[in-house]
Amino acid sequence: MNGLRAIRIGLWAIVGLAAIAVVALTVGTGPDSLLGRFLTGGEPAAGSPGVGSVGGPFSLVNQRGETVTEAALKGHPSALFFGYTYCPDVCPTTLADLTAWMKELGPDADRLKVFFVTVDPERDTVEQMAAYLAAFDPRITGLTGPPPAIDAMLKEYRIYARKVPQEGGGYLMDHSAAVYLFDNNAAFTATVDYTDPPSAALAKLKRLVGVS
């Protein structure tokens, strides 16, 4: 009986693997698909970054016009959010959430460095970032820069961003909407997902800054 059961389990395992393969093929492997990026990048996809695969060097400019590099992520925990100021929904919501969470953390939030990195450097100039961020916690650092520098950072940090042209010449951006959390050594630890309830998000940030 035990032998039969082992065979049965083995067969189901094969069925399971086959199902996963079918799903992978159905989801798509085009260059724009998540899986496509996963395959071409040889690293975990943007939606579920693996620990250690997210992060790297960058050189951008903050809303005061000062150069900021990956050195700014060392020696303290950090939270990075990627968005754009033309975004009416997710971006102001997330920045308002971050502002509320930082208030909730109180002085502990001083250890945390929060960055808002634009995925739309063509329209998000230093001046635009400065004006926009005035509505949120002043400890939030906005980052922009020449499009190639932004592209390089998005690649290092496994951020999906795609320009979607609109009628009349404008465009929208599809982009990863999570907040990426990094430890004192700039190592990626977790994401706060857009769908996380506020209590879960706050718990993740508290863990990150070392308060319980």
Binding site: L34, A45, A46, G47, S48, T85, Y86, C87, P88, D89, V90, P92, T93, L95, A96, D97, T99, A100, R123, Q128, A131, Y132, L133, A134, A135, F136, Y160, V164, Q166, E167, G170, L172, D174, H175, S176, A177, A178, T191, D193, Y194, T195
Partner: protein, 164 residues
Amino acid sequence: MLRMTLAAWAAAFLAVSPLAAHEVKVGNLELTQLWARATPPNAPTAGGYLTIANRGAEPDTLVAAASPLAAKGELHVMAMKDGIMTMRPVEGGIEIPGGGSVTLAPDGLHIMFVGPKAPLREGDRFPVSLTFAKAGKVDTFLHVLAIGAKGYGDHDMPDMKMAP
């Protein structure tokens, strides 16, 4: 066109949120929970939301939205898939089925105002014109709630002044 109902006034006084709610009727449609989000300085876009109930038997369609205080209004739908936010114009407008209702809310259907002439400030009323295929056009306003407001009855929002 714009009518404050007794119920709406009662709700305004009794509800946790001290909003002076208003309700708009146009043809067979009832518009409630009309609101927009306050915008950060220089924000080139603003989101507008409402609930549309169709008391008629025939479907109607929201085909356009505009404001004298914005360069243009577009009907959009936002979706979140695999952690990626996508936003697209809604082709052909937003249909409200006969006897049914549709809610425009954050993270889904919304009006996107492009090029607001000034930032939307919390507590303001933002004028809007809505055009329906059958019910026609109606001019009303959206209550401007906090930047981070997630819904009309958002209890997290800071206190608002009672509208006169």
